[in-house]
């Protein structure tokens, strides 16, 4: 902006005025990320722990996988919207691999991923099962936890409210991926 300026002696000159909007500050908090090295699944496991958060029909998903794999297993139940207890984590660590299910809502997905990352930190390989409506969130949460490559299998949403055969059908579709992650090639 330029304004004409005239002094007492009637000389005229330009006054250049720059009008600047004050800057605004960034409201976003910096993320605190500590990388987690994932435990590898190098061979077909001898024992699998099925960590069930008791969301509706999760038992059917896990039973379907269990029947298909026919590998020695331990069943452990955990809360859906909160962390597994210390006792449940210790029980889960008795297997070679832990399969966690089910992330089909916000809080249960959160705690499937957070419990899985905790197990990974403690050296136990995990596989998480989340419905496709929540896998984007599951991956972003895993990344925020420093576990970008956390093994997350996507099953078709919804699972709750379905009949048994419908859940089995959706589970059949993810079995090849489960087997691949577990190094089962037959």
């Amino acid at each position: 902006m330029i304004i004409k300026f005239k002094d007492r002696k009637t000389k005229e000159t330009d006054m250049r005025i720059n009008i600047i909007e004050k800057e605004v500050m960034d409201p976003l908090g910096e993320s605190e990320v500590n990388k987690i090295e994932l435990s590898l699944i190098l061979q077909k496991p001898d024992k699998i722990v099925y960590l069930d958060n008791t969301k509706p029909n999760t038992d059917i998903i896990l039973d379907t996988i269990k029947e298909s794999l026919n590998i020695d297993s331990i069943d452990v139940q955990k809360p859906a919207g909160a962390s597994a207890t210390e006792e449940q984590i210790q029980e889960a660590k008795k297997g070679d691999v832990v399969i966690l299910a089910l992330g089909d809502c916000g809080s249960c997905t959160t705690w499937v991923i957070l419990d899985a990352t905790r197990l990974e930190k403690e050296g136990k390989p995990t596989i998480c099962i989340c419905t496709h409506k929540f896998t984007d969130y599951a991956h972003s949460l895993a990344k925020a936890q420093g576990a970008e490559d956390l093994r997350i299998i996507e099953i078709e949403h919804p699972i709750a409210g379905l009949k048994e055969d419908e859940v089995e059908e959706k589970t059949e579709k993810i079995l090849p991926e489960v087997k691949k992650m577990l190094n089962i090639h037959s």
């Binding site: 300026f5 002094d7 002696k9 000389k11 000159t13 330009d14 006054m15 250049r16 005025i17 720059n18 009008i19 600047i20 909007e21 004050k22 800057e23 605004v24 500050m25 960034d26 409201p27 976003l28 908090g29 910096e30 993320s31 605190e32 990320v33 958060n53 008791t54 969301k55 509706p56 809360p79 859906a80 919207g81 909160a82 962390s83 809502c105 916000g106 809080s107 249960c108 997905t109 959160t110 705690w111 957070l114 929540f134 969130y137 972003s140 949460l141 925020a144 936890q145």
Partner: protein
């Protein structure tokens, strides 16, 4: 004219007027591109829209967080700008004093609210609050801030008529500041880190004070081990409030039965994962109940024993109902009498509000407003002065 650095204009107004014009120059200052730089407040409408497009807001307009505004809030924190209050999930964002201040400015707070907000953020980061679950859930749980003690009154928190809104700056903006911190620091952005199926009006702001002068019993924070003249924030994860209209009951038992009947429903989290429930009792209801000789503990005990949901209705929630909660075919919606969080607030009228909790998965946290040296604050001014 004085000698100047290459890029720094040292012109005073007198220099400009007396020297350059005398020389007949057409430009007042030789060094600077401009003669005068005027800093103006940003266009609030434009900044609001830009922040909105970046998903930094709750959808409402914001106050632009300029450095000057933010500085005033930092000065009222009693801490340094980079001091870390908490790390907030699911994005695990660092809630430094400065970031809390930025979001509080945006919310329309005044700087005197800063101590309440920073202590609220600290409280919700407590493990037992389960912020990862509360933020991300499909359930419409919101986070309520209850103020006790003298600082609430000092900053103008409403504990009387309309305490749940609208009309009071502290109630409206402190809750909003916490929500903006959740969005921008914790990453609880709708559809990204906050998956509430429908959300809730309570997520805009949910903050009030207990009406301690109208309370026939001891206030909430004393029940939790604090002194009556301590100032505290109690953070609790809740459903939106549900009204209990009872104008006719004349006895404590009848009145509490109405409250219990309103609270004992299927479909809430308490019915399948029992936990805390907030009862915001109007002074008139509290007077009727205490007038019959009932203590706060009597109310909580009676509520716990009688707030029941038939098991076939209770077991329809997200997690399978644990058998340990079943008694004679019913689920008690609270685990123990202490789960009934009872406060007195509101104005004239025979209404009480009940708010179901998030269930077993979240416990409320009460935080003392204390200074850096650990002593209890008597006034918000203590934070600025020390």
């Amino acid at each position: 004219m004085k000698k100047r650095d290459k890029d720094v204009c040292g012109c005073s107004i007198e220099d400009l007027l007396n020297e350059n014009i005398e020389k007949g120059e057409t430009k007042l200052c030789e060094v600077s591109k401009n003669d005068i730089e005027l800093y103006v407040e940003p266009d609030a409408e434009k900044v609001s829209y830009e922040f909105y497009k970046k998903k930094h807001t709750d959808g409402l307009p914001i106050i632009p967080p300029t450095e000057g505004r933010v500085r005033k809030f930092i000065e009222f924190s009693g801490l340094n700008k980079d001091d870390l209050v908490a790390v907030l999930p699911p994005r695990f964002g660092r809630a430094t004093i400065q970031k809390i201040a930025v979001n509080s400015v945006m919310a329309g707070c005044i700087s005197q609210f800063m101590p309440v907000i920073q202590h609220s953020i600290k409280a919700i980061s407590h493990e037992k609050f389960n912020l990862p679950g509360v933020n991300a859930t499909t359930h419409p749980v919101s986070i309520c801030t209850i103020l006790n003690g003298p600082i609430g009154a000092e900053i103008g928190i409403n504990s009387g008529t309309g305490c749940l809104g609208p009309g009071y700056m502290a109630n409206a903006t402190i809750g909003r500041a916490i929500r903006l911190c959740l969005i921008n620091i914790a990453g609880a952005v709708t559809g990204i880190g906050d998956h509430a199926s429908m959300g809730s009006p309570s997520k805009y702001s949910f903050c009030f004070g207990e009406a301690e002068n109208e309370n026939p019993w001891d206030p909430l924070h004393t029940e939790r081990g604090f002194k009556v003249d301590d100032s505290t924030v109690t953070m609790i994860a809740l459903d939106s409030p549900h009204n209990v209209n009872d104008h006719r009951s004349k006895t404590a038992e009848d009145l509490i039965d109405t409250i219990i009947h309103t609270a004992s429903v299927a479909g809430c989290n308490n019915s399948h994962v029992p936990g805390e429930i907030l009862v915001i009792m109007s002074p008139e209801h509290a007077k009727t109940i205490s007038g019959d000789g009932w203590s706060r503990e009597d109310v909580k005990e009676y509520f716990h024993e009688n707030a029941l949901v038939p098991v076939e209705l209770g077991d329809r929630g997200g997690r399978k109902l644990d058998k340990k909660w079943i008694k004679n075919g019913n689920v008690s919606i609270t685990r123990k009498p202490e789960d009934v969080v009872l406060v007195v607030a509101g104005g004239p009228g025979r209404h009480t509000m009940i708010c179901h909790g998030f269930g077993t998965s979240s416990e409320s946290v009460t935080e003392l407003l204390k200074l850096k040296d650990g002593t209890a604050a008597q006034s918000v001014d203590d934070f600025k002065n020390k």
